[in-house]
Structure formats: structure tokens, C-alpha cells
């Protein structure tokens, strides 16, 4: 019975172990940051950071360094640009996001094209845009852990002021809190979370992990701390189940071409969200 679920070699495979570890860290970071992304209504900004991260990931690929560095550098720089254009203002938010998004896709198009001509395969394109958690190098694990700790640490340190500023900037500024600084630091944490998410499930799908589990958690609990924990758990669950299904799919048709992990993760996240909405309002914690 178990062997029908866990195909032979699943637990002993080193790439499965690495994928499971990286995936879990990334899912926890994304859950922690993502709850605030949803509360603050910055999902589109998160998507843009992921998309422009593709430019960084692809350029890193060209330069022969780990794509994580590229994702990280470009997402953080883009967060800075978005902050300067004015993400705090509601109207500035769409504008800032749209400008950064356009520029990011332009660069990504260039670098991915160069990458394709360079080694004559589409490997870089697929890896950067759609992720490949099985193809990670072990050297990436400490980086993921450190950047993940920085992003999560920022959120936990700023927790109360960030929550108040996200609920109502007016209440926060009446309490003499530096709303803009808080928003800027949050944006940096989001850039890190998106970059981490991009290496695991790809630049384009990275927001699914950031926003999906968080949006689901918001349906299931009415307390902010629990929402963060729930989002992390859903994320880890989706990631591990996705890895398992991707591993098993090697034996599915068309034979001996495993299905991409990112597909499974994103689909599970979507199903989780739909089920959480389907729970009748009475059963849900109103």
C-alpha cells in the first residue's frame, strides 16, 4: 500500500531530500510574508517582483552563478524602485507595479533569448520561468536558509507595527509609527520571499506560493498569528505533496518524463483555496 504511494527510492533520493528541505523553508517564509501581502493588497506587486526576478534568474544562468543570486538581487532592486515610485499610495501602487513588471519582462526576454542561443536548449527558460526544485544544487540550501531567516525575522520583528500599518495606515501614523519605513522594509522581505519562491517553483508561479496558502488561511482563521501558521502549514503540505506526485509521475504517461513539480504545487494550492471557500460560512470561523 505505502509503496503504491511512495514509489521506490523516494525517501532515499538525495534530490528529493534537498527539494523537500528547500521547499519547506520556502513555504514557511512565503506563508509568513504572504499573509501580509494579502492583507495589504499587494499581490500584484508580489507577482511583478517574481516576474522581474526572471530577468535576474536568467542573467545569473548566463553568468554561470546560482540563479538564486540573480532572483534575489533583481527582486530587491525592483522593490527599491517600486518604493521610490510610490507603492504606498493606492494609485501609485498599480503604476509602480506596472512599470516594474514591463521592464522586468523586457529584460527577461533578452536574457532568456541569449540563454537559448548560448547553449542551444530551452533548459534555462523552463528552469527560470517554471522552476525545477529537483535540479537544485546542494550549495543552495544554506543560502535559502539564511535569506529565509532574514525575511521571516523581518516580519516577526515588525509584526505589531506592520499589522497595525497594514490594517490602517491612519491608526499607525496617529501612533507616530513610521508607516513608510515599515512599508519599505516589508517590501524588501517580500522581495526575498518571492526570490526564494522563484527558485523552487519558478518566477512566474512564485506568487502562487506567496498568495495562495495565505488567502486560504485567511478563510480558515480569524486571528493574524494563526493565519501565518496555517499559511505555512498549507504551503509545506502543498510543496511536499507536489514533490511526491512529481516523483511518482515519472511512472505516469507519457512514460519516463516526470511532470513538473510546480504544476502540482500550484494546483494543490488552488484546490486548497477553492475548498476553503466552499466550506459553508457557518463552519468557517466567521
Amino acid at each position: 500500500m505505502t509503496s503504491a504511494i511512495f514509489e521506490p527510492g523516494f525517501f532515499s533520493s538525495s534530490s528529493v531530500q534537498l527539494a523537500g528541505a528547500v521547499g519547506a523553508i520556502v513555504a514557511i517564509v512565503a506563508g509568513c510574508v504572504g499573509v501580509f501581502t494579502v492583507i495589504r493588497g499587494q499581490s500584484f506587486a508580489g507577482e511583478a517582483l517574481g516576474d522581474i526576478g526572471a530577468a535576474g534568474g536568467s542573467s545569473a544562468y548566463l553568468a554561470g552563478v546560482a540563479p538564486l543570486w540573480g532572483f534575489m538581487a533583481v527582486a530587491v532592486a525592483a522593490a527599491g524602485v517600486m518604493e521610490m515610485i510610490g507603492i504606498q499610495r493606492t494609485r501609485g501602487r498599480d503604476l509602480a507595479t506596472g512599470i516594474v513588471l514591463g521592464a522586468g519582462f523586457g529584460l527577461a526576454a533578452l536574457f532568456l533569448y541569449l540563454g537559448t542561443t548560448y547553449d542551444n536548449t530551452t533548459g534555462a527558460t523552463v528552469t527560470v520561468l517554471f522552476g525545477s526544485v529537483f535540479a537544485l544544487d546542494t550549495s543552495v540550501l544554506p543560502l535559502v536558509a539564511v535569506f529565509g531567516a532574514v525575511a521571516t525575522g523581518t516580519i516577526l520583528l515588525l509584526y505589531r507595527p506592520l499589522l497595525l500599518a497594514s490594517v490602517s495606515p491612519e491608526l499607525a501614523s496617529a501612533r507616530r509609527l513610521p508607516v513608510r519605513v515599515i512599508g519599505g522594509l516589508y517590501l524588501l522581505a517580500m522581495a526575498l520571499a518571492v526570490a526564494l519562491s522563484a527558485v523552487t517553483i519558478g518566477a512566474i508561479l512564485s506568487t502562487a506560493l506567496l498568495v495562495g496558502p495565505a488567502a486560504t488561511a485567511l478563510q480558515l482563521t480569524r486571528r493574524p498569528g494563526r493565519a501565518i501558521m496555517t499559511a505555512g502549514l498549507i504551503g509545506v503540505g502543498a510543496m511536499w505533496l507536489g514533490i511526491l506526485l512529481a516523483y511518482d509521475s515519472y511512472y505516469w504517461p507519457p512514460l519516463h518524463h516526470g511532470w513538473p513539480v510546480s504544476f502540482f504545487v500550484v494546483t494543490i494550492v488552488l484546490l486548497a483555496y477553492i475548498s476553503s471557500r466552499a466550506i459553508p460560512a457557518r463552519g468557517r470561523q466567521a
Binding site: 492583507i39 520583528l157 515588525l158 491612519e170 491608526l171 496617529a174 482563521t221 486571528r223 466567521a286
Partner: protein, 291 residues
């Protein structure tokens, strides 16, 4: 142009003021928003800040909160020192997503320590303080529901508790009755009046409609075109005082315990009930104004 009328209680002096505004003017982009405004608030008193839209009420609040610099004049808090919780503030528009994972009591707790870093640890004293505020604003029935799904009046109660839990000596409320039905407005007004008296807090509440506040208002600060007159309602809501404030003749009518302020220009007179309460009055003196 400020008409400061001292009440007997205030003139017996030595009363520690919760807030003193002294000759404050604010110019924004070449336009004078507040002009030589002076008044003071006494602990335990309920003061209405009355004026039509555009009269400068929100600017005055922003000045008190130090979110808006003054062009001239000075502001003193009774406590002297400004801490992060010296002033309780309830903002004008408060719209939360119904799915926001935040219970009423979570928002109240943020009023206690929302400015602190780190994650709040479970604490009996913290919980007791929150429970005490939940009781003080009669919010037991809905304090555990999501804030975004509460009615306007329920949200106001939670916000008042949020503002009061840090035990400020001054509570500012920006148009708290604007979106409430009559019954909910009466409840909120009664609650505020009780809290002001019991906890010796100076309450300053802005409104474009003075009538719901008449039964509880100890003092009034009347704003028109950036200028202010303050005193008791009987001292200020009179034809001579308001005419001087507006700069042209104004009649004050008292009908069935309600006050109607009519600018007597003779033309463009609507029946009072036809005037939308939130109709903008650019010159600060509409032909007919219900306040």
C-alpha cells in the same frame, strides 16, 4: 478672529488642560485652512468640533496629532510629554476587508502595544486589559468576530476601545457618526459621554451635524472657513457669534430641541431637510446649514 468665550468652570483656572491650542494657523498650498484658531480642552469634558465639510476639522486633527505642521501658533498637551499613546485617535473612514484575519479584540490589543517590536507573547495582564476595554465599550457580543464583518456602530466601539486602552488623556474622533444610523449614533455618543466623565478624558469629536451631540456636549468649537469660536453651546450657537464667524448674517433657529443654522442671504433657500448633510460648502457658509 477667534472668539474665545470662557465658561465659569474654565475661568476658575488652575484646571490642568488636556490640550491647549493657541493662535494656530495653517496654510496649505497658498490657501489658509486654519486661521488664528485658539481653544482648550479640559479633562472629563465632551467637546464637539462642529463645521461643514471643508471647514478645516480634519486638518485641525492632523495638527493636534502632529501629522500636519502649523504655519504659526502653538499646541500644548496637558501631559506635556508626547508618548506614542498620548492621544487616542479614531479616524474618519474605516473600511476593512471582511476577510481580514483580525478579531475586534486583536485590534483593541494593538492599541495597547501596536507600536512595539516583536510578536506579542501571551500575557494575563494584557488579556485582562483587553477584556476590561471590551466591557467598557459593551463589545462582549462581537469582540471575537472579524472586525471587517462588524456593523459601522460595532466597528466604532472597537476603534474607541483601541484608542482608549493606552489610557490617553485626550481622545479625538473624526466624524464618528457619519456612517451610523440614528440609533447607533445615539449609542456611540452616550458611550463617549460616559467614558469622558468616568475616566476624566477630554473628548473632541468632529461632526458636520451638531444635533446628535447636543444632549451631551459640554463645550463646542465651531469652525467656519478656517476660523473658530469656542465656548458652551448657548454661548456660541447664537446669531451674533456665528454671524461674526462667517462674516455675514446668520440666523440660529431652535426647533423642537434641534438647532438649525441659516445663512440669511435671502436667496437659494432650501427646506432644511432637503439639504444633503455632506454637501460640500466651498465658502464655508451655505445658504441653509443644518448643524
Amino acid at each position: 478672529m477667534t472668539t474665545e468665550v470662557l465658561t465659569p468652570a474654565a475661568s476658575t483656572a488652575a484646571v490642568q488642560k488636556a490640550l491647549s491650542i493657541d493662535d494656530v494657523s495653517v496654510r496649505l498650498g497658498g490657501r489658509t485652512v486654519l486661521e488664528h484658531v485658539s481653544f482648550s480642552l479640559t479633562p472629563g469634558e465632551f467637546t464637539g468640533l462642529i463645521g461643514s465639510n471643508g471647514a478645516g476639522k480634519t486638518t485641525l486633527f492632523r495638527v493636534i496629532l502632529e501629522l500636519q505642521p502649523t504655519t504659526s501658533g502653538s499646541i500644548h498637551l496637558g501631559s506635556g510629554r508626547r508618548s506614542k499613546a498620548a492621544i487616542g485617535y479614531v479616524p474618519q473612514k474605516f473600511l476593512l476587508d471582511p476577510d481580514m484575519p483580525l478579531r475586534g479584540r486583536d485590534l483593541i490589543a494593538l492599541g495597547l502595544d501596536g507600536q512595539r517590536l516583536g510578536v506579542p507573547l501571551p500575557s494575563k495582564t494584557r488579556r485582562a486589559r483587553v477584556d476590561e476595554m471590551v466591557d467598557a465599550v459593551d463589545a462582549r457580543d462581537f469582540a471575537d468576530a472579524r472586525v471587517g464583518r462588524l456593523s459601522g456602530g460595532e466597528q466604532q466601539r472597537i476603534l474607541i476601545a483601541h484608542a482608549l486602552i493606552s489610557r490617553p488623556k485626550l481622545l479625538l474622533l473624526d466624524e464618528p457618526l457619519a456612517n451610523l444610523d440614528l440609533r447607533a449614533a445615539q449609542d456611540v455618543v452616550g458611550l463617549l459621554s460616559r467614558i469622558a466623565a468616568e475616566q476624566r478624558i477630554a473628548v473632541l469629536i468632529s461632526a458636520h451635524e451638531m444635533n446628535p451631540l447636543l444632549p451631551v456636549m459640554d463645550r463646542i468649537v465651531y469652525l467656519a472657513a478656517g476660523r473658530a469660536a469656542s465656548g458652551t453651546v448657548d454661548e456660541i450657537v447664537r446669531s451674533e457669534v456665528l454671524s461674526k464667524l462667517y462674516g455675514h448674517h446668520v440666523d440660529v433657529l431652535r426647533v423642537h430641541g434641534r438647532v438649525i443654522v441659516v445663512a440669511g442671504t435671502g436667496h437659494d433657500e432650501h427646506a432644511p431637510e432637503e439639504q444633503a448633510p455632506d454637501e460640500p460648502a466651498d465658502d464655508g457658509a451655505p445658504a441653509v446649514e443644518i448643524v
